[in-house]
Symmetry: C2
Subunit: 223 residues, 2 copies
């Protein structure tokens, strides 16, 4: 019977020790202890990463410790080191935007602006996941943030530019990303009175005229 656990089906990571274990016998062993161990490992990895996201969203890199992340995740500092090696590596894992960019740009070009606005608002309003795009605003990690910035440029801006037809696609991708970042700042940080009162479709109606020309290849200075 396949394992229906979302944690194990989501994870693409290899399970270091399971390959050397004998396959469990589902008919004779009603408590399959050996097969639950890798699943626990995946869950612990995810818990550690979530704790690291919370830590780096709230504290500067220099003020964040492996010990505090471990405590928040309910594991030992040694386990954090075993799974992620160093604080710097954990930081790099947190500041990876691939999955967010995939979701943000998951629409046909002619409706991409609206999708981007609605997706951004849904992730900022619901607080159901880590607001990775908004983390790009953090000023506190600048000393270390070279890798984070490089990730953001490659995984968000370059990924968008590759989708765009017309001249100056990289520049237009930067400007479109900037408009989105500004909208995110108005919502999440400034908590602007007017915009936060509108429903997402109304906000999209306001922002599509700013964004869609940048995406479709109409240089803003030509309008």
């Amino acid at each position: 019977m396949p394992d229906p656990s979302p944690a194990s089906s989501r994870s693409a990571r290899p399970r270091p020790s399971s390959r050397n274990l004998p396959a469990p016998s589902p008919t004779t062993d009603p408590v399959p202890k050996r097969t639950t161990r890798p699943r626990d490992a995946d869950a612990r990895r995810a818990d550690i990463l979530a704790a690291a996201r919370r830590a780096f969203a709230r504290h500067a890199y220099a003020d964040t410790t492996i010990a505090a992340i471990a405590e928040d995740a309910g594991v030992s500092p040694a386990l954090v080191m075993k799974y992620y090696g160093t604080k710097e590596n954990l930081f790099t894992q947190v500041f990876t935007f691939d999955a967010d960019a995939t979701a943000l740009f998951d629409a046909p070009l002619d409706s991409l602006a609206r999708h981007m606005v609605l997706h951004l608002l849904s992730t900022q309003r619901g607080q159901t996941r880590d607001p990775i795009l908004r983390i790009a605003f953090s000023r506190h990690h600048l000393e270390l943030g070279g890798q984070a910035r490089a990730n953001f440029r490659a995984q968000v801006i370059d990924a968008l530019a590759a989708r765009l037809p017309g001249p100056s696609a990289p520049l237009r991708a930067e400007m479109a990303t900037g408009v989105l970042l500004g909208l995110g700042a108005l919502y999440a940080t400034v908590q602007a009175d007017q915009l936060t009162r509108l429903n997402p479709d109304e906000v999209a109606d306001l922002y599509v005229p700013l964004l869609q020309p940048l995406l479709c290849g109409e240089a803003p200075a030509d309008r």
Copy 2:
């Protein structure tokens, strides 16, 4: 002869004790000790505020101490408390945007978009002053940042809205501020490849078509 000191001409703070002192005689007293004391106090106040800006730009509120700010400013913690009372009050002083907004909006309406872009870029490129507008991006102070957000809305967004003709001025002021915040994020945090290669006038040429319609009363959805 007027005092040409930039420190004293910039400062709008009253000098608590100087009004009760006799005017110094420049011809008979080569070392005017009495008049330098209030200026020292002003300089120390400014040093403490600058140190607090650096501290709150780099560390979360909870990770920032009066002792560290005092050490950075080269004064005693007691002096910080004497001048500013509490850490919270010092934080509120740092997150005040009046002077920045005055400079940012110091242009006629028909050239306001270009002025805003050029002013933003000049303060972000030169690093000659504290980047108060960019501090609005900080996610680390959210727990305490109610007053900072209220200041930003009142001193930046409401001040801009009061300048704008036409319908929905508060909403358009929010959107225009958002476009600027996004540009600031592209420059300062993301350090976007394309935009940072352009000169300020070229960036203004790109952003005026996004910004000026918001300022002039043309609702973006009507275009």
